[in-house]
Amino acid sequence: MGKIYADVTSALEGVTFDGMMVMSGGFGLCGIPENLIAGLRDSGVKGLTVVSNNAGVDGFGLGQLLGTRQIAKMISSYVGENKEFERQYLAGELELEFNPQGTLAERIRAGGAGIPAFFTATGVGTLVAEGKEVREFDGRKYVMETGLVADLSIIKAWKADERGNLVFRKTARNFNPMMATAGKVTIVEVEEIVPVGSIDPDQIHTPGVYVDRLIQTVSEKRIEQRTVRQREA
């Protein structure tokens, strides 16, 4: 069975339903599946729980799904760049679960690896640990966190072969590899699909076993904080 789909609409067909949990890769606007996010917006699916480190910016990335009120809950570590998010949250229209960034990454990794829970020192003695089991190992306290599995993971990679073997580029890798493992269905958008055999097997970051559907897209790739230095005269 082929994994390659013609476009975003056909790739998302039959996998979305109201109230579902979606993991969306990326850090800030870097390495986000921007075409698949727009596809979710156009599909009209609502009541989403979205697991993503950030919430996009107003009008771009996950900000698009916030603008249309398709998101009911976010599980994130930092949402400071999105005014609409802050407004909806403070108005009680949006549920928010903050996870420390490393805990979020590990919850996703664990979910994809079949590990239901783990203990971490991160967050012990803070709001994050409230209501969770705390246990002592070798004299130090650790809090129990659970693994996360999503109904759908949407992923951005740089390159894929026709069997879904993925290569990421620079810091656009971030949350994408773990999320690819933790979706019951994983859909990946890439800048280039190449024939099987043209990627050195030693250079593959995510093996194709985790990838269900694949589309080639053109990304806008917005820069959130353009910072430069002066050339020396």
Binding site: C30, Y78, T120, K170, T171, T227
Partner: protein, 216 residues
Amino acid sequence: MARTREQLAERAAKELQDGFYVNLGIGIPTLVANYIPQGMTVTLQSENGMLGMGPFPYEGEEDPDLINAGKQTITEIPESSYFSSADSFAMIRGGHINLSILGAMEVAENGDIANWMIPGKLVKGMGGAMDLVAGVKRVVVVMEHANKHGQSKVLKSCSLPLTGTGVVSRIITDLATFDVKPDGGGLELIELAEGVTLDEVAAKTEATYSVAAGLQ
């Protein structure tokens, strides 16, 4: 004279040691990178998935796939490596990073730190701060001594929601430097900024502290 932001960064850079792997927080801590001594090898970690952070790119060479944890465009250097967020925090949580220099809203005399949330007001989130303070071997806070209302940020105990408990080893402010002594030993004033007096620090600090020999 209180230390300026640049002088704070320069002072914080004295915490670096040759061979260190270091994570710098957003704000003044980021400026520490400008004061790494010549000839010293320090590798900067960016928790979004990079070791060996280079400087900002020249105009026209920005790459949207290459940013730091503050979402700023950066560059790679010959020793750079990239990895996932899970690997990045395994590195942090597993104690493989030598030093974290970060800002704070409040620090308490027992090493508690609050730097992520003001209830009812600020809902940005903790990002990687809780993982960093819990996992990195040594945590140094760099901050203004007082908030914008003139109240001490070095406290007996934090009033804001905590980022971590008993995790800070040293506090560098625009007025002074304090060590948090291990095993509940409390705060010790170890250094005054140039031109700052013991009386001034005493007047502007809510926390109790001892004064190191030689400063009295």
